[in-house]
């Protein structure tokens, strides 16, 4: 179950640029939109950090500048405002100021739209590019990768990591520019007004910087703890809901209830700690900005000793505003820093996936002739007849443990070969090797007399019909599900195959026939019915080699006979390999290979092997005992009595 996968959060404390450098490629190709974004940010920073403060100062100063107005000798429209923007000083009438302001408010809105939209666009592009690359890589990777990697891990990369990287790159990394612009505009505006006051404000910033960084780090750490306490609770809760029956039958409600209280209390404590830390953070920062403002009030008069006015109100308001314009970017910078920290592990993990090299690939010359898995050159594919030979094949999943030892089997065209053995005997591995899900570590596998590595993976698999233990039903119609075996199959072909397998009537009995839509996992159908559909999927490609990997293990008794009939029909004219845990499925096979610990120990048909009273006999009787009473009776009648097998 993929959704039950819980990931441990990795704690990062240092920014690692070599990790982030990998993301540059994804931003770089979006450069035109990045430029639009930067222009929008530039304008917005200018309006917020330069125009508004300067305009307000000019308005406050206006009545000083224009002298006494008693009696209304100057109309309000003609009052002149003294602008000092970025070192450029000019006079503007109130009327012009009003027009300019309205225009700028509207322009700012356009800039904000551009800013938001391009940020979102960049986020989305990066996110989908990452997902696309990761998905493509997943398709290329070989089986050995999936053995080691839980699918939950892969889903977390594709979903969460891709999304959070997209978000961080657009909202956090690019916002660094926004902060930089507004800092630059603020600083330039400040210094062109009064460099002395500016220096005073700047002198207090190291203190705020330290406070912000200390708090951010603390809050980051605490909120991680709170999150992990909560996800522990969720995991515990899921388990306790699943174990409901056990809790009831043991009457341990009280014990579990106490556990619940303990765990929720831990969540409460951790959350409280986090919120307490942020509760002190904001008042602290606010207080520091008040202190800075107070310093300005104390200091401003000192610079104005020569002038007739004791203190300039406009200058005061201006610099009080600058305090927040300096403090906010520091705070935002700390937030970005926290975002980057939080996402670094995601970047590492996602790129670990994207950078993984597939281990099972065809040689360049094979690819040149037959194409790669995404582009098969089917016109160069030779016909496959179905003669299979394992020539001194050995195999190990990891170097220390060999699971197949020097296997030599010759399977002639048209044989139906059953492979039996206990779990771990190597029967599934043998089939996996034939499908080239893995390659032999020693020896070779010859198909029609030629080493299968000399032809492409695509060539081999296009000739194999594969049925696995749990039938896989894709979301889609029944016809879609069957067509998955041959993407260009016509409706007629599909119906023909279904008629051959005797499942046409069953499909037609469904509400929409072949167009019956199957939801996730096809739960509308019984396990047996699903398996019949996967049979049709395998047969529609008219394979020369048919592989049934435990195809009857999870079949309900109702459909067992239909399945058996269908299997018998499928085997005709094909080389087939049947792995079955349920021995009843293989008693009819023309040849049975009994495997134990990676070697073939017995070889023959059911009757011969039972009479031999060897390993096969033991397997058979053991398995029989595992059956429930009804099955024991049925199987006994069917195999021992009717077929006259000696036990």
């Amino acid at each position: 179950m993929a959704s039950a996968y819980v990931e441990e959060s990795v704690v990062t404390d240092k920014l690692n640029f070599s990790v982030w450098i990998k993301t540059v490629k994804y931003i770089k190709k979006l450069w035109p939109i990045v430029i639009v974004l930067l222009l929008c940010m530039f304008f917005q920073a200018f309006y917020d950090s330069s125009f508004i403060p300067v305009a307000n100062a000019a308005l406050i100063d206006a009545f000083e500048l224009n002298g006494p107005l008693i009696g209304g000798n100057i109309s309000i429209w003609e009052i002149m405002l003294d602008f000092n923007i970025l070192g450029i000083r000019f006079l503007l009438s109130f009327k012009d100021y009003l027009i300019l302001s309205i225009v700028l408010v509207v322009l700012r809105s356009f800039a904000m739209f551009g800013l938001f939209f391009s940020m979102n666009y960049i986020e989305m592009e990066i996110m989908t590019d990452l997902r696309r690359d990761a998905f493509k890589r997943i398709q290329e990777l070989s089986f050995s990768y999936f053995d080691k990697t839980p699918s939950g891990w892969l889903i977390a990369r594709l979903n969460n990591d891709a999304a959070s990287i997209g978000e961080v790159l657009s909202y956090s990394v690019l916002r660094i520019f926004q902060i930089a612009f507004s800092l630059i505009f603020t600083l330039v505006t400040m210094f062109t007004q009064s460099w002395q006051l500016s220096l005073i404000i700047l002198a207090t910033t190291p203190l705020i910087f330290v406070v912000v960084m200390v708090f951010e780090k603390l809050i980051l750490k605490l909120s991680r703890e709170a999150r992990s306490a909560y996800s522990y609770f969720v995991g515990w809760l899921a388990e306790s809901i699943n174990g409901n029956k056990t809790i009831k039958t043991m009457a341990i409600e009280e014990t579990i209830r106490e556990e619940c209280e303990e765990i929720t209390d831990n969540v409460r404590k951790k959350r409280l700690k986090t919120q307490r830390a942020s509760g002190f953070f904001w008042p602290c920062v606010d207080f520091l900005s008040y202190i800075t403002t107070a310093i300005i009030i104390l200091v401003v008069p000192l610079f104005n000793e020569n002038t007739s006015i004791v203190i300039d109100a406009a200058m005061l308001v201006l610099f009080i505003n600058f305090v927040s314009h300096i403090y906010n970017p520091i705070r935002q910078f700390a937030e970005i820093f926290a975002d980057l920290m939080g996402t670094q592990a995601s970047v590492e993990k996602l790129f670990m996936l994207i950078d993984t090299k597939p281990t099972l690939v065809d040689t360049p010359s094979v690819i040149k002739k037959y194409g790669d898995i995404f582009n098969n050159k089917t016109e160069n594919f030779e016909e496959l007849y179905g003669d299979i030979k394992f020539d001194h094949v050995s195999f190990s999943y990891n170097p220390e443990v060999e699971v197949i030892h020097d296997l030599n089997i010759h399977i002639e065209k048209g044989t139906s070969l059953a492979i039996v053995g206990e779990t771990g005997s190597g029967k599934s591995t043998t089939v996996n090797l034939l499908c080239r899900f893995y390659e032999p570590t020693k020896g070779k596998i010859l198909i029609d007399g030629i080493d299968y590595k000399e032809r492409s993976v695509g060539w081999l698999r296009s000739n194999i019909g594969f049925v696995q233990q749990t039938p896989f039903i894709f979301k889609g119609t029944i016809a879609d599900n069957i067509r998955y075996g041959k993407l260009n199959a016509t409706k007629e072909e599909i119906i023909k195959v279904c008629k051959e397998l005797d499942i046409h009537n069953f499909i037609m009995s469904l509400k929409d026939g072949y167009d019956t839509y199957l939801k996730d996992g096809g739960n509308e159908l019984s396990q047996g019915q699903k398996q019949l559909i996967s049979f049709a999927r395998a047969i529609v490609r008219n394979p020369k080699i048919l592989i049934l990997d435990e195809a009857t293990s999870s079949i309900d008794t109702e459909t067992e006979h239909d399945i058996q009939d269908a299997i018998n029909k499928m085997l005709v004219g094909r080389t087939s390999l049947i792995i079955a845990h349920r021995l009843s499925t293989i008693v009819d096979a023309s040849r049975i290979l009994v495997m134990k610990d990676g070697v073939v120990v017995e070889d023959g048909n059911h009757k011969e092997l039972m009479e031999k009273k060897g390993y096969y006999h033991k397997l058979y009787t053991n398995q029989f005992k595992e059956l429930n009473i009804g099955e024991q009776i049925d199987q006994y009648e069917d195999q021992i009595v009717n077929k006259n097998v000696n036990i």
Binding site: P68, V267, P283, I629
Partner: protein, 602 residues
Amino acid sequence: MSKISKAKDIMLKGLRFRYYFYFVLLFISLVFYMLGTYTTKALIDAINKESYETMDFLEKAFFDCFGGYDLLTNNIWIFAIILIIFALLSGGTAAFRFVYRAKTSTQMGKQLQDALFYKVERLPYSQVKGMKNGDILQTCTRDEDVFRRFLTDHMYSIFYSIFIVIIALIILFITNVEITLVTMALMPIMFIYSFFLIKEVRKRYRATDDSEGEMTARVEENLSSVRVVKAFNNEAYEINNFENYINDYKKKFIHWRKMSAFFFSSSDIFIFGQILLTTVFGFYLCYLRQVDPLHMAGISVGTMVIAFTYTDTIVWPIRDLATILSNVARAYAAVERINLLLDSPDEDIYTGEKPVITGDIEFKHVSFSFPDEPTNHAIEDISFKVKAGQTIAIMGKTGSGKSTLAYLLNRLYDYQNGEIDIDGINIQKIEKAWLRKHIALILQEPFLFSKTIKDNLTIGNKDVTEDDIKKATKISQIHDSINKFQYGYNTPVGERGTTLSGGQKQRVAIARSLILNSPVLIFDDSLSAVDTETDYNIRQALKNRDTKSTTIIITHRIATAKDADLIIVLNNGKIESMGKHDELVNKEGLYSRIYKIQTKME
């Protein structure tokens, strides 16, 4: 509001005063904050030496309070002190209220989490069986989270916005009525505009979210079908297919974010428009006073500054308010699901008699049908008697009602007809918890918790000794295996620990039940997961145990059933035959047939 009362009552239990008092704290701290900002106005007026007579009573009071008009206008530095006083007051109350709030809201969350879990734990078995575990989990986690946020964070934000607007307007109103009205001019329009636009944003968000869900489902499907994809060499098809999902998601994502970008940028026109309007109108009112110092509507420069500062303070919370209010429906949906769960009935496991139970069991004409199939008898007219300490075996095909019989005995289900007695007392009169503590039912599917083996073993009774534990694990033939694990009895099991095989799990589960020394032991096909030899050893060890329990073994192995004092063969919920092994073997029927087959197979 009655709809949310139940979940709300649980959250606020014992916290009601603290919850509401927070709003008072919030108000006080905002008053200090706004007065801190107000200082700027007084400061500017003092610098410009506005005459005391033209001031409103608030400003007069301000000046009087801090040493009088003359002192302040001549000693501007005092304003720095005033500012710091307000900063301390506002910062102090803010820190206090944040911590106060954190204490309350985290406790509120805990209370609801606990209450929901108790509920889930106490649901009758028949009801839990009919619910999806995932849905229950969703309600206990995500819905709880949404509702708690609504009641705390969102409520606090709503009142923050309301308070700050009220305080700003009151102060402005005292200062100048005209500027107050202008300050409010665009706000209602912006509120309504935001409220409705954000709804559209949400709608598009949901479409995007759905699309993302489908994309994720596609990825999951691809990953779980890896073998099929590769075997059919459909990798290229999978990539193209995934591209459709990516594109659909992309389209919806852009559609959504275009709207949200439009929402923020267009409502910015209202926000900056309002700030500009206040500024310009404030300037006009200033001009009026400059032209005629006695003009009724004229204002000082300080008032103009405070007007646009306050405007800047209130416009953003108003937009946030619209955003929060437009999302209330989500909290309602969450609380509805929470209440639905809270309203389901509890199973009463703590009332009833607590008689001494020794293990005499009698079924008298018991019939039972499952609630969802009332016409179909799962158990029909079953009668038998077991004396304390005896062993009985129950056999039968799948679906014949073997497990149901066990569930009836420990009252996971209650029978409809007949009577089941334990020690002569009808089990329906016995307290359920008491009954279940005395009947150790070992389930077919063993379930262990993600704890150490030892904690799993002692979960039913924490006071057992090491000796008791070892005795039980030796009987269930797991002691040696446990000792072979890296940490022995302290080895954690489950996802983050050692994975046990099915047979090992089952043996731990058996030991867990044996430790309880219950007078009744039921093996619900739980010996099938272990091999015949271990099965035999366990049964032998049970015989030699000090405690003699009435033992009910549900099995399909003749060897397991053979020695029982009574063997019951079930067929379709009815007793097909009943008796000792010797009697049944010689009688035509299911038992003798299976006996013949199994002895041949030995």
